[in-house]
Subunit: 230 residues, 2 copies
């Protein structure tokens, strides 16, 4: 069976879990607290970041984008028309563009600062940068969420799914990052009906269920988090 | 013919130019000053970043990693054993891991701050964040260059090229970022003989020549920059 080194609030780990769910692949989850910089983990991924998937032959596959390519190359054709990285050149560019948009841009501008301030800093010692959340960082990240949400709504009004007619890695990436911050109550769904309707469809997929049932002790999920008709 | 929207000091643009050179593909270069946020360019790449390759059928391919995948999928097999993203699953993971290491980690920690402070800020208005370089940013980035150089040396001592036996996207990514800051004199080659010897080999490839002959008015290249026996 596959093993995934992950963290429940790492948006990239969530993306990989959604993808594995869509492929119908079972996985052992191992929680990695990357800020502890465990040596055995650094040997798997010198960049020291989650997620790392341990695939066939104990091959360590590091990072959301590389895992997505690996899964497409090893299992993608098996999904046929439901392939998460579709077959044509044009579609592959658009899916990869949006996957990178969320895994890099949304991560940097919104999901990473929010998760770092609100979750990770609880577990990190003060001398290593942990402690109370920085209000100004949270304020800036929440402002960024609004323009990303508008972009998602804009795409969702023009297409059935974010990158085209069918569900793709683009939807899973967007939904993974949104889900992490939706838990924290940081998504103003009321601002964009199209984005909300798109998210409700993705969230109701079976691949999403495991994420919705994991709660962090001491940090209650927002009212919209598990409600499929939020 | 292909068109590349690029900037001479954008390390990701340099990476794509090296790759195109290795594929033997000719390209029209169009300089894009991304800080001007030109509307027609944002339509090509909403992320507003160089490089963007205009491929067959006027397809816009945005970003170094996506262009690398596009070129591999459309021209990779034609290179045979010299394929820049090799054929086996294991090799593809390692090449992609190192390509991301340089295009993301090295970029964020070293090449982007150095190029931004020393080059881009000359062209940006003071009210938009331009002006004099920030000494503390440059100092931090230069410290980061040293540990990246040591990692390159470590890899180069164990392998013929950075990701394995043959030249790959990993070498082109590392060399692209290094070349941008080598122009500025920010690579302490004296600290690592293995890294230096590896770079000298990559730099002597024909694909490198066009980069070495482009100089920026008012910013002389460092003595090591064009010297192949630096």
């Amino acid at each position: 069976m596959l093993t995934l080194f992950h963290h429940s609030f790492c948006p990239h780990s969530r993306f990989v879990r959604l993808a594995l769910g869509e492929y119908g692949l079972e996985v052992n989850l191992v929680e990695e607290r990357v800020w502890e910089r465990r040596e055995a983990f650094l040997a798997l991924n010198p960049a020291g970041a989650t997620p790392v998937l341990i695939g066939e032959d104990q091959l360590a596959v590091p990072g959301a984008a590389i895992i997505a390519e690996y899964l497409d190359e090893t299992c993608g054709a098996g999904l046929g028309e439901r392939r998460l990285l579709p077959a044509t050149v044009r579609e592959r560019i658009e899916v990869r563009r949006l996957m990178a948009w969320f895994n890099e841009k949304f991560f940097e501008e919104a999901s990473n600062p929010l998760v770092t301030e609100r979750i990770y800093k609880r577990f990190i010692n003060e001398e290593d940068g942990g402690g109370a959340p920085a209000a100004e960082v949270i304020r800036a990240a929440k402002a960024n969420v609004r323009y990303h949400l508008a972009y998602i709504g804009w795409l969702a009004q023009r297409r059935n799914f974010l990158a085209g007619d069918r569900l793709s890695y683009a939807d899973l990436a967007a939904a993974a990052h949104l889900s992490a911050i939706d838990y924290l109550g940081d998504v103003p769904w009321i601002e964009d009906d199209a984005a909300k309707a798109w998210y409700a469809r993705v969230k109701s997929r079976p691949s999403f269920r495991p994420l919705l049932s994991e709660w962090l002790a001491g940090v209650p999920a927002s009212p919209t988090y598990i409600d499929l008709d939020f």
